[in-house]
Symmetry: C2
């Protein structure tokens, strides 16, 4: 059931012993939202903790390292930035997929899997929504919360670069800086640090760059072999995904990443006028207008040819 902002605020007020869920392959927005929510709920005198459904990349440690562990039997389960229960990851989905009481999200493709869902599809990040909820709850936005929320505001907008940024995004960022968010250090961690391994991987991937539709579409591929050879980590690939769309003339950049189980995850990035979520929905994926994803459980060449057919259809219809 879709709920409005006031109801979401009341749900948070009523919540007790809260387990907060993020999506799998957690990014800055789901983690920033999740840890901010834990901090907000604790400030309201409640018990709250985040379920780490898989290892959180080390670069995000500043989001939680000052938080004490809390052990309790969960009564309320809240998801943040989760458009679909399958995005919880297999294990978490099995355990909590049909037990999410409240989902707070900014994906227009949200499948309303939770008991109650608050969605703002035009919000640049889930952290923007959590910021507004925090203000409505009347809590003090301390440095810890500000760092968490700034992280999502920054990472989900390519550091205020993308078309999802609104006047509100910058106003909230200004407030978060005034509340002590360590913006420069966070951006260095999120955007300004590339390992040698990543630089090697990037060079390797660019050597095998494929262009289609007269250079309007780029395909980058990252296999397990390339990750093994360069020593680059899965969570470093975001920089490459961004690059797929940055090549002059490219309107759709697709990065195919081989997961450890052999599935290829396609990250689709588009420029204005092309809807990435629409393209990915053909493969049961989803996301936003400019950034979306889907998965292929077939060999890479088949995955590519399916994506090409879909793009062909999309270009013909559009």
């Amino acid at each position: 059931m879709l709920i409005d902002f006031e109801t979401a605020v009341n749900e948070l007020r009523k919540a007790e012993n809260v387990l907060v869920l993020t999506h799998a392959n957690p990014d800055g927005d789901t983690l920033g939202s999740g840890f901010a929510l834990v901090r907000i709920l604790r400030q309201l005198g409640k018990k709250a903790r985040l379920l780490n459904n898989e290892e959180i990349p080390k670069k995000f440690s500043y989001l939680y390292e000052d938080l004490k562990q809390e052990d309790f039997r969960e009564e309320t389960v809240i998801g943040v930035d989760i458009a679909d229960r399958v995005l919880l990851g297999k294990e978490t989905e099995e355990k909590y997929g049909d037990r999410v009481n409240l989902d707070i999200d900014h994906h227009g493709t949200n499948r309303l899997f939770a008991e109650k869902t608050y969605v703002e599809a035009d919000s640049a990040s889930c952290c923007e929504i959590i910021f507004l909820l925090a203000k409505a709850l009347g809590i003090t936005i301390d440095k810890g919360i500000a760092d968490c929320l700034y992280t999502g505001c920054s990472t989900d907008t390519g550091c205020f670069r993308y078309s999802n940024v609104t006047e509100r995004t910058h106003k909230i960022a200004a407030e978060l800086l005034s509340f002590g968010a360590d913006h420069a250090a966070i951006n260095v961690k999120m955007f300004e640090t590339k390992s040698f391994s990543l630089i090697k991987l990037q060079t390797m991937a660019l050597e095998q760059l494929e262009l289609h539709f007269d250079g309007r579409v780029s395909f980058l591929t990252v296999t397990r072999k390339m990750l093994d050879e360069t020593g680059a980590r899965d969570d470093e690939i975001d920089a490459l995904v961004a690059l797929s769309r940055q090549i002059e003339g490219v309107q759709v950049g697709v990065t195919f990443k081989e997961k450890p189980d052999g599935v290829f995850k396609a990250s689709v990035r588009t420029h204005e006028g092309i809807n990435a979520a629409d393209i990915c929905s053909a493969f049961s994926g989803g996301g936003h207008e400019r950034a979306a994803g889907c998965s292929f459980s077939v060999p890479i060449e088949q995955a590519k040819s399916r994506m090409l057919s879909e793009l062909q259809k999309y270009f013909q219809e559009g």
Copy 2:
């Protein structure tokens, strides 16, 4: 002579038949400030034009393409974002170096070469200052002005990424979006478009990457030969300059770029705790704490060894 904000506003009110100067190798901040100022002065009923002291990179054409040419004999000369008269470029310096009536700048290293100088060294961009002056002058910030000012706010902060960003920067960005700044399209042009040539140049430069001081210092080199071989343009090198500091463990990134006259321009980028302007001042250069530049009229190996000696001193003293 240093002047205060009110005096700067009055100088702009008094100015007639204004020639606006930018620095040579113009970037988004000097051009955004310059064209915004031309638009502001015209709105006040004055004649104003920008002196294009060298070819403006094509990607900036949206800053001025709707502006009509105006021909008049200049009475007032105003510089924007110019820390030193030598930065005007040889030809412009000869003609106007001692005739600048007002300089509006955000470099702490400003040499006060103008008759009157208004400097805010803690402003992230010169465009932030022009924005405040525009408001004080009571003009309407239209889309044209908003696009110009957003350009400087974004480019001089690495799109709101760097430590020079303040609460004010985001507040101004929010206002500029409300005034119609086409932020997403501007950021695509400024940050999201890499030519194939640049990608080739980047790969080539990274293959020759030098690390010094246990990986704390990186040296990238771009020669005319590399530019010729890849077809990359001088004005595309900024992306590479940013990369010099993004390598894990690197605190000081230096990019040596060979200019057509054989001079090597060094762009120095630092992380917190290391002052790039201090380092460059040893070579009569200057800039900001995290981003500065200087020039070497000696062969590249000598330039590198001089820079290494200076860094050695800097690390020992610091």
